[in-house]
Amino acid sequence: MPLPDPARTAEILLRVRRGEAAAADELLPHVYAELRELARALLRRERGGHTLDATSLLHEAYLRLAGSSLPDLQDRRHFIGLVARSMRQVLVDHARARGSLKRGGDRLRVTLHASALHTPTTAVDVLALDDALTELARLDARKSRVVELRFFGGLTSAEVGDVLGIATKTADADWYAARAWLRRALAPDTGA
């Protein structure tokens, strides 16, 4: 599938902004493909415990697909919303693929480092997170989306609000609740 040029990307985003749901679907496969390529390129140097910087991946993908042709802030946010969704999928796919390479026994942990200091306490098992997010979506779809946008997309609460059409305060509230819930779900000592 040929990659859309930035002008076309901008045009699709315009339609997304106007509320055409179908438009987003047009872009997703491209976004997904682009992210996969990028992820593969970045992850080729796999070794023992490896890490992945989600944000640079996302920024790369964004730049490659949209370039600098999106002066409008809103367009950018919507686009990043799409990218964030794809990002999650890419990372999960990758983790699964890695996991399946191991014969029997434990699957290999693919971790996301979420802060500048790569300390173990902040590492997150991608597959576990994915499961937890899916579970969260069952309970409250919007909160799951907020997590995607903030965590994978790097958007602030104000921007999340803009993409989802909710108030900033609401986005904040969703985020804190979701984060606490997820932390609990991911914590090793609970059985939940």
Partner: protein, 1232 residues
């Protein structure tokens, strides 16, 4: 748990989240009354929420956080001064306890973070320390300071003086082979020692190889590389990607392959390639591009990039670059031995024979530049491949490749042949090219090919083998091949038969590819032989390829085309997409291709050869220079691209073939323009239309040069038109122009009234008549012509003005004056200071003569502005005051209005902003009174600027928005661009960087579009400043440097000074304090000379700050004092407050005075300045409220910055970093 329950839990959680202690307990008790399970759930969540760290903070980009700074003590050594920055850490000069000096590299904190990393690092460093070799910089010590998770890992090394190989590369461009071999040998020896100690260097690259003043090579940075690998620093810094271009394929492999010394050999190979050819073959582009190249792409043979290298060296380098480590040299020691032995080495002797054996099958490389891959010829390559497939299957094929010179025919064929080498059965490849003027060697091309094929072998024996039954033919053929036709004469048809039989015989053993190049040069016999061959190969495994320019006889081509196994390929011009790709590759930079693209496309018209020639001439004349990363940059502004001489030759050759009547038609057409109407040409020649059309058609068919385009014709290239026109004698050209003007006028008047002729027609008429020496006939059209032309291009308009001024007969004085004034406007717009001043003088003199008082006043205004640009403010003020008196006396209100505005500009240049505002305000009122929108917009801009300088941002906003509206309504693009830029700066002051960035870009775009160079310079600077604020110092520096060049070219001294100071600021943002000093000083000095006090204040403040950062507090103090003093004089709140605060930080600083200033002015400070000031206050007093205030603003700034810049802002904006760090010490994570 269901959704409803979850919602309730979250509700309570949210309410309780922001409460603490008793309040929280109360709320929980209330809300969860009777539902103990609910309370438990909520408390669980709250527990996880309150935890100080844990997963799922929003991701921050991996940031490079410097591990240490000057003055720190690391590993027992005191850091004295920074030495340089690498991808993984900063290198400092440090002092040991005994006073000895060493180099200490402090790694970025996140790289030493985990214990596992630290242990590996220490282990490897100690191994490295065991290496003692003159060619290796000694590792003295390594360790990790402090015990927190973020402790700084450091490496202590010998301090070595010298130049890096990188610098040598830049100096020499291409390093001579002797020196390359020496480097290779020394490095191989050093690597052997390292490998013997059990260490792999992993980071061999030119930056890590030093040459001492005694010319000793030393390899440095041992022991650091693996830390990078292990921590996967795939961050935004180009440094890592830069290292990546020296990596070996196995460094990317998954898991199982262990790195050994051969990886270092690969890196060495790349270094040698780069030294010998001037560029790293894998570099360029982003992470993914470089990775792909290292893994998949085999670089072109070194000989193609540098024809002077020996076969030995070329093969050596390519052996090192083998993708499979087993195919490289077995060890560094082995490599060293080979280099010691040189061409006598057994390795080379074996290789040489192998190469020679394969060379027979290769196409002899032709002198075509092969700077890039082949672009835009996929369809043609497929056709050739298909033809070859036919051939392999037993059916002969003939391909005729046609196209204009330089379009890339031979290149295409060469590329195709190169791919053939991958075939299972390597074909015989024969190549011969017909040469122009080779009348005697009628069949030379084909024979040459055969001769080359046989090479040094015994030709007679070979021929005898191939033609066993025809000894007579053999003798004759051998004689012809030896160039001695007389020895055994052969009739033409017998020769043809012999050649055909030889080729068929060859085809019996292996498929044959026979290339005959440049058929258009072949004689009649040559063509006949080709045709015979074409017939003869029909049922044999031969692919006959002929290339030809236009000009082959029709019958010949038709005869070939009629054969069933003949294909024709016509190579067309490259379309914009392919041309774009070609340029990106040739120039190594998308940005440059963008910048030059349209000019190159226009000049070359999509002909690849032209493109390369033009690029080459730009490179050779120094207008394009290669930077450290191997990519090209423009030096200065490329106004025009001259035609390189080889392209002229190409065109001249074509023109030489014109018949006389054709030449005449073409000459007139060239005067008529790039696109011309044959009717005009016919009329000018006094000929009938049809014969001229037929002549043009004939020209097109035979030689190209022109093309029909609807009812009109167009030249094939701009160059052709220019060359033809240039060859005309001036008298003849003038005569033609006059005739053309006449013809055009007749035609135009036939369908419209004389008074209606305007716009395009007027412009062409004016130009023709002017060039034709009939100045008086041009006069009626001149005014509207100039209006029309100026709207499109000030350059063109200026040229037209000059034509008009030089016209004969000379125009009357009033007209000349009007034209001069117009010319002044154009020159101002373009920025030609050298011409401007004398033109102004001439205009003033003429206005005086004519007694046109109004124009005289306007001109005096211009003179005043000139004084301002040169820094002579008092002169300007005096001139204007006198002019104002006169204007008022005469009641010339428009002039008065303008003078008022100019007067305001003088005050603004003096940094007396309150006065400036008053003046501009008066101009504004008057402009509104007399209803002059243009002046009104200008005055609004002036008031806005003054308001901005005084810190009254809302007022400035209103003014600039009003100015923008008016400018757009008038269609005044220049004013529009200024207003857009001002608004951008205002938005930036408010912290809305996204909008600011977009506006600055728009301004730059408009300025470029209308060719407004001064505006372009200003816009470039503002954009750079904005980027620096967003944390992109390198981009900002590049733009500032361009701005400096532009300002120099248009002699805009104030702009240059401003650019220098801003450049220094950008360097500071990147942490390059030493580098910042020079431009800062120069800028400040220049500003001083110009009397631009505000700018001097900024410069002094920056100097102080920089010196402070470099540890020179005493010097800093003086500068801060100067800055504060000037800033107060000028009334600039920001500068005075910040300078005072900065000064207060120095030992013995006056905190009380600074605080007083802060309190007095803080409300007037713009967002960023306020943030900075609050942070400084916090540093001085430790009061938490200040830090919170700073943080609040930081959040605002971050939230309003475009997403993609947030990370870089955090890294490269010192203020942001400092605030975040201070917050971190209080336990607050502000990195989100």
């Amino acid at each position: 748990m269901n959704a409803e329950r979850f919602r309730r839990i979250c509700e309570v959680f949210e309410a309780a989240r922001t409460l603490t202690g008793g309040a929280r307990a109360d709320l929980l008790a209330r809300e969860c009354e009777g539902d103990a399970a609910l309370r438990t759930e909520v408390e669980e969540l709250l527990r996880h929420h309150d935890a100080p760290d844990g997963p799922l903070d929003a991701p921050a980009a991996v940031s490079r956080v410097a591990g240490a700074a000057v003055g720190d003590v690391v590993g027992g050594r005191r850091l004295v001064a920074p030495l340089g920055e690498g991808g993984m850490g900063t290198v400092f000069v440090a002092e040991e306890e005994g006073g000895a000096r060493v180099a200490v590299k402090v790694l970025h904190t996140h790289l030493g973070a985990s214990r596992r990393h630290r242990e590996r690092f220490l282990r490897e460093a100690r191994l490295g320390a065991a290496v003692r070799h003159p060619g290796v910089v000694r590792v003295l010590d390594a360790g990790v300071d402090a015990d927190e998770a973020g402790g700084a890992a450091y490496l202590v090394m010998e301090l070595v003086e010298g130049q890096s190989l990188r610098e040598l590369c830049e100096e020499l461009g291409r390093v001579p082979e002797e020196l390359c071999r020496h480097v290779a040998r020394e490095l191989a020896d050093a690597l052997a020692a390292i490998h013997a100690a059990g260490v792999v260097h992993r980071d061999v690259k030119p930056d890590n190889i030093l040459i001492t003043p005694d010319h000793v090579l030393r390899l440095t940075d041992l022991g650091v590389a693996h830390v990078r690998d292990a921590s996967e620093e795939l961050s935004h810094t180009g440094a890592f990607v830069g290292s990546l271009a020296y990596a070996s394929p196995e460094q990317f492999a998954t898991g199982t392959v262990r790195l050994d010394g051969r990886a270092d050999l690969h890196a060495l190979g790349i270094v040698l390639y780069e030294l010998a050819s001037g560029a790293n073959p894998f570099a360029g582009g982003d992470l993914a591009a470089v990775t792909r190249r290292v893994l998949d792409v085999v670089p072109p043979r070194l000989g193609e990039r540098n024809p002077q290298v020996s076969a030995f060296f070329e093969e050596l380098v390519h052996t090192l670059l083998a993708k499979d480590p087993d195919e490289r040299f077995a060890s560094a020691a082995a490599l060293r031995d080979v280099l010691d032995a040189g061409e006598d080495a057994p390795w080379w002797r074996a290789r040489r024979d192998e190469l020679r054996a394969r060379a027979h099958g290769r196409l002899r490389r032709i002198r075509i530049p092969r700077a890039t891959a082949l672009h835009g010829r996929d369809a043609e390559m497929t056709e050739l491949a298909q033809a070859f497939a036919d051939v392999v299957g037993g059916r002969g094929a003939v391909v005729l490749v046609q196209g204009e010179p330089g379009i890339g025919k031979t290149r295409l064929v060469d590329e195709f042949v190169a791919r053939l080498e991958r075939e299972a059965e390597l074909p015989h490849v024969l190549y011969g090219g017909a040469a122009p003027g080779a009348a005697a060697g009628a069949t030379s091309a084909v024979l040459h090919a055969l001769r080359e094929h046989f090479g040094g072998d015994d030709v007679a024996a070979a021929c005898a083998r191939l033609l066993p039954e025809s000894p007579a033919l053999v003798a004759g053929l051998v004689a012809r091949l030896a160039g001695n036709a007389a020895a055994a004469p052969l009739a033409q048809d017998a020769l043809e038969a012999a050649v055909i039989r030889v080729v068929q015989a060859l085809a019996a053993t292996r498929p044959v590819v026979f290339v005959v190049d440049d058929l258009q040069f072949a004689s009649a016999e040559g063509r006949a032989l080709f045709h015979a061959l074409a017939l003869g190969v029909a049922a044999h495994r031969v692919l006959l390829v002929g290339t030809a320019r236009p000009g082959l006889p029709e019958r010949f081509v038709a005869g070939l085309a009629a054969l069933p196994h003949v294909r024709r390929l016509a190579l067309a011009r490259l379309g914009p997409r392919d041309l774009g790709r070609l340029l990106v590759e040739a120039l190594g930079s998308e940005r440059l291709a963008d910048e030059l693209g349209w000019q190159l496309a226009r000049s070359s018209d999509g002909n690849p050869f032209f493109v390369f020639e033009i690029v080459r001439s730009l490179q050779e004349s120094g207008r394009l220079r290669r930077g450290t990363d191997g990519t090209w940059h423009t030096t200065g502004v490329l106004a025009e691209i001259e035609i390189p001489s080889t392209v002229v030759d190409l065109i001249a050759a074509r023109l030489a073939e014109l018949a006389e009547d054709e030449q005449e038609v073409l000459d007139v057409a060239a005067c008529a323009g790039f696109e011309f109407d044959p009717r005009d040409v016919a009329a000018a020649l006094g000929a009938a239309r049809i014969p001229v059309l037929r002549t043009l058609g004939r020209i097109e068919r035979r030689l190209g040069l022109v093309r029909a385009a609807g009812p009109r014709f167009v030249f094939d290239h701009h160059q052709i038109q220019e060359t033809v026109a240039a060859r005309l004698s001036p008298a003849l050209a003038a005569a033609y122009h006059a005739e053309l003007g006449e013809a055009l006028q007749r035609r135009a008047l036939a369908s419209a009234d004389a008074t209606e002729l305007a716009g395009e027609i007027a412009a062409r008429l004016a130009e023709h008549f002017l060039r034709g020496g009939c100045g008086d006939r041009a006069r009626p059209y001149l005014a509207s012509a100039l209006v029309h032309v100026e709207a499109r291009s000030a350059e063109h308009a200026a040229a037209l003005c000059r034509l008009a001024l030089d016209a004969s007969p000379p125009p009357p004085a009033t007209e000349r004056l009007a034209t001069l004034v117009r010319l002044l406007g154009c020159l101002d717009h373009i920025g030609r200071p050298a011409e401007y001043a004398p033109t102004l003088d001439a205009a003033l003199a003429l206005a005086d003569e004519c007694g046109d008082a109004d124009v005289l006043l306007d001109l005096r205004g211009r003179r005043a502005l000139l004084c301002v640009a040169e820094g002579r403010h008092d002169d300007a003020a005096a001139l204007l005051d006198a002019a104002l008196d006169e204007a008022r006396a005469r009641g010339a209100r428009r002039q008065e209005c303008r003078m008022l505005g100019h007067r305001g500009a003088v005050e603004a240049a003096r940094a007396q902003h309150a006065e400036a505002r008053t003046w501009h305000g008066r101009a504004l009122d008057l402009a509104r009174e007399i209803g002059d929108a243009e002046i009104e917009a200008a005055a609004l801009g002036g008031v806005g600027n003054a308001a901005w300088a005084l810190g009254e941002y809302d007022a400035a906003f209103r003014c600039d928005e009003a100015a923008l509206a008016i400018a757009r309504a008038c269609g005044d693009r220049r004013r529009e661009s200024v207003a857009v830029g001002n608004l951008g700066t205002l938005w930036s002051a408010r912290g809305d960087y996204t909008r600011a960035l977009a506006l600055q870009r728009e301004r730059l775009h408009i300025a470029r579009e209308i060719g407004y160079r001064r505006g372009e310079a200003i816009a470039t600077g503002n954009l750079a400043i904005q980027l620096a604020i967003l944390g992109r110092p390198d981009e900002a520096c590049a733009l500032h440097e361009r701005q400096i060049v532009l300002c120099r070219e248009i002699a805009h001294a104030h702009g240059e000074a401003s650019a220098l100071v801003s450049l220094a600021l950008a360097h500071v943002g990147a942490g390059r304090f030493e580098t910042a000093l020079e431009p800062c000083r120069r800028g400040t000095e220049l500003a001083q000379r110009l009397g631009a006090r505000g700018l001097v204040a900024s410069g002094e403040q920056l100097l102080g700050d920089t010196l402070h950062a470099l540890g020179r507090a005493d010097e800093a103090r003086a500068h801060f004092a100067a800055a504060t003093e000037l800033a107060t004089q000028v009334g600039s709140a920001m500068e005075s407050v910040i300078s005072a605060l900065l000064a207060a930080r120095l030992p013995g600083g006056d905190v009380a005075a600074a605080r007083a200033l802060y309190l007095a002015h803080r409300e007037r400070l713009a967002l960023r300045a306020r943030m900075h000031a609050e942070h400084l206050m916090y540093q001085l007093t430790g009061e938490r409220a200040h830090l919170d205030a700073a943080w609040e603003r930081l959040r605002h700034v971050r939230d309003h910055a475009p997403v993609e810049y947030r990370a870089s802002m955090l890294v490269h904006q010192p203020i942001h970093r400092a605030i975040v760090e201070d917050l971190a010490t209080l336990g607050i994570d502000a990195s989100v």
